[in-house]
């Protein structure tokens, strides 16, 4: 059973790492530190392949994995979107809805030490419709 990652996942090298996993690890520079990651396209195997699909980290690469995870393509896509948000620290239900709608892409620290959202492609349209709705309410 095999699955292929659809998101970059940080690797934990403190314990046993199978040889076929080890060869797929890449080191990425994250703010001056090199961290090991499994890049998008990494192939997981066995029970872990099924777990990765169920967790939303990967997509099945063979029929056995697809059957073992017990999810249809729509459910798999939904799980992947859910995990994408979790991995970005987006846990607030309202923010998750905004992320799904393309209004925000995540969070970032502003220079003054405030958290701001990273604007998504639909951010401006969302703000505009919110203002319009407010104006209607004020009339």
């Amino acid at each position: 059973m095999k699955s292929t990652t659809v998101i970059q996942i940080h690797a934990d090298l403190s314990g046993f790492v199978p040889e076929n996993y080890r060869t797929q690890i890449r080191w990425v520079n994250e703010c001056g530190r090199l961290l090991p990651v499994y890049p998008i396209g990494t192939v997981f195997e066995g029970d872990h392949a099924v777990f990765a699909v169920k967790a939303g980290q990967a997509t099945p690469s063979d029929v056995e994995c697809q059957a073992a995870c017990g999810l249809n393509n729509e459910e798999i896509a939904s799980q992947q979107l859910e995990y994408e948000m979790t991995a970005k620290g987006i846990n607030n239900p309202k923010d998750r809805d905004l992320y799904k709608s393309g209004v925000i892409l995540g969070y970032e620290q502003a220079s003054e030490g405030q958290m701001v959202v990273i604007k998504g492609p639909n951010y401006d349209a969302y703000q505009k419709s919110k203002e319009e709705a407010q104006n209607v309410g004020n009339v």
Partner: protein, 145 residues
């Protein structure tokens, strides 16, 4: 200049088959108890005030996370599996068998801390006016890496 950083966006992940897997639907995270260990060194022939001395040993923290619990979620299920079948592997850099957990702060760095979790407790709370919530308490051995 020191900057305020917010809790929103903090990520708690734990190691599953050599991947750091983020825990979904977290409401809050607490890290408590990390500190110096000290003892009362007051003697009968001492001065007016009681004295204390550092043992040169640091206490590890306990990390806990409250989250909406979904018994069908693969990551929540993996947490339960970790509790029922604790790891017997000693992570490199540590002396006790455990499983690494990773806390990623929201600063621009960001700061990333790995801790060796040697024990896990998961409590669940069911209430009429609330979703089912769970609290996972991670007992930590050693320092951060």
């Amino acid at each position: 200049m020191a900057k305020k950083i917010l809790g929103k966006g903090t990520i708690l992940a734990f190691s599953v088959s050599s991947t750091f897997t983020a825990i979904p639907m977290i409401i809050s995270i607490e890290k408590t108890g990390e500190g110096n260990q000290y003892y009362d060194s007051t003697t009968l022939d001492g001065g007016q005030y009681a004295t204390q001395e550092n043992t040169s040993i640091n206490k590890s923290p306990e990390i806990s996370a409250e989250f909406f619990y979904d018994p069908t979620n693969a990551v929540h299920m993996a947490l339960k599996t970790s509790l029922r079948t604790p790891s017997t592997t000693i992570p490199s850099g540590y002396t006790s068998p455990g499983q690494l957990i990773r806390l990623t702060y929201t600063d621009s760095g960001p700061l990333v801390e790995n801790w060796n979790c040697v024990g896990l407790q998961i409590d669940e709370k069911f209430a009429t006016k609330d979703g089912v919530k769970s609290t996972a308490k991670f007992a930590i051995s050693g320092g951060p890496t």
